[in-house]
Symmetry: C2
Subunit: 196 residues, 2 copies
DNA sequence: GGACACATGTAAACCGTTACATGATTCT
DNA sequence: AGAATCATGTAACGGTTTACATGTGTCC
C-alpha cells in the first residue's frame, strides 16, 4: 500500500508524465521504492479516477502523447495522512542470508563467486550514494527539506557500508571453509578440495 | 522463488509438520524469510507432488492430523543447486524511508511518534538477537555449520544496530524541525507550532 | 457436551512481474 | 518510406495477504 504514496511524493516534487516518473523510479526515489512502468501507469489511472491527481491540460488525448500529472489538494492531504499514520515494519526477506543458512546444511560449494559479485554491486552502489552526497549535500548548506532528504541518503550510505563490510567478512569466512561443509546424511558425493 | 528453498532448509534442519514449520517461521528462519501458514501448506503440497519431499509415514490421512515431512535426495540436490546459483539482489523497498522523503514535502507532523515506536521495535529485536548470540554462540565453540549460522546472525545484529542508531539520529533531527517543514504551494493551512 | 486450542486447508483480492501491443516522433 | 525511439497501455501469470472453513483432541 505504498506505491500510490511514492508516486504522490514524486509528483509533488515535480509534476511528470508516466515515463518521466518511470525514469525517476530508476534513480532517486527508486533507491528505496522501485516500480516498473506498468505499475506506474496502472496506479496513475487509479489515482486520477480517485481524484487525487489530475492530468495537466494539454489537449492531447491520443495514445502516443505525453500526459503530465499534478497532485490535487486531496492527494496532498492523503499523503500527509499516510506519512503520519503508524505502520508496522514489513517482515524481512533476504535471499542471500537464506542461502547462507542453506549452505550450512548443503555445503558452500559455488557460493563464493556470487558473494564476491554481490560485494562488488554493493561497493558500486555505495560509491554512487557517496557521489550524490558530494554533489547534492555539500557541508553547511541545508534547509529543512534538505536535512530530511540527507537523512534518507545517509540511511542508504550506512546500509551499503554495512553490506560491503559484512560481505567482505562473509567471503573470508566462506573461503576459509572452502568446499565441503555440511550435510549430515548427504547423498551427493562430488569431490571438492579437502581441508589441508 | 525462494519460499520453497526456505522450507527445504528448515526441513533439512529438522523434519516437521506444517504448523511446526509455521512456528519456526515466526522465529529463526522467519527473521530473514517470513511466511504465513497458508503459504507453507500450499508450498508443502507442491514440493511433495514434485518429489522433493515426502510425508513421513504415520498412517494419518485425516484432516486434523499432524503430517510431518522430510526432504528427499532430489530436494537436497535442488537446494544445493539454488544455493550456488547466481542471483541478483532484489530492489529495495522501505516504507519508512519513503515516508521521510514524503515528509520533506508535506511536513513532519505526526511522524515523530511512529519513529520512536520503530526505534523501540528495533531495540527489542537487537536485544533478542544478542540474547540468541549469547545462548547459541558462546565464544570459542564453532564448527563449520555454526560459523555460517553465526555469520547470518551477525548480519541481523549489525543491521538492527544500524537501524537503532539511524532512527535515534532521525528522531533528533525531526524533533529539531518540529512542525511545519515544507510544501512549496500547499493548500492546507493547518497551524502548527512556529519556529522559535 | 460445550468451549477452546490445535492442525490443515479453500477462496478471493491484491500487488508485482513479464510479455506483448499500439500510436507518435525523429532520424536516415 | 523504413527503422528506431519515445510513450502509453493491455493481458496474463504468479506470489502474498487476508478471511474464512473444517476437522481433531483436550479440558472443564
Amino acid at each position: 500500500m505504498s506505491l500510490p504514496h511514492a508516486i504522490l511524493t514524486a509528483l509533488l516534487e515535480k509534476p511528470s508524465s508516466g515515463l518521466e516518473l518511470t525514469r525517476r523510479f530508476d534513480r532517486s526515489i527508486g533507491y528505496f521504492w522501485s516500480a516498473t512502468h506498468q505499475q506506474i501507469y496502472r496506479e496513475l489511472g487509479k489515482l486520477e479516477s480517485d481524484g487525487l491527481i489530475r492530468a495537466l491540460p494539454a489537449e492531447q488525448p491520443a495514445r502516443g502523447q505525453k500526459k503530465a500529472y499534478e497532485v490535487l489538494p486531496a492527494g496532498r492531504a492523503e499523503l500527509a495522512r499516510w506519512t503520519a499514520a503508524a505502520q508496522d515494519p514489513k517482515p524481512q526477506r533476504d535471499a542471500l542470508l537464506l542461502r547462507l543458512r542453506a549452505a550450512a546444511v548443503v555445503g558452500t560449494a559455488g557460493l563464493e563467486a556470487d558473494l564476491a559479485r554481490h560485494l562488488d554491486l554493493h561497493r558500486r552502489q555505495l560509491a554512487e550514494y557517496q557521489d550524490i552526497e558530494r554533489r547534492h549535500f555539500p557541508p553547511g548548506r541545508d534547509g529543512p527539506e534538505d536535512r530530511l532528504r540527507h537523512l534518507v541518503l545517509r540511511a542508504g550510505i550506512d546500509l551499503e557500508t554495512f553490506w560491503t563490510r559484512w560481505l567482505a567478512h562473509a567471503l573470508a569466512e566462506v573461503a576459509g571453509l572452502s568446499g565441503v561443509t555440511g550435510g549430515t546424511a548427504s547423498s551427493d558425493g562430488a569431490g571438492t578440495t579437502p581441508p589441508r
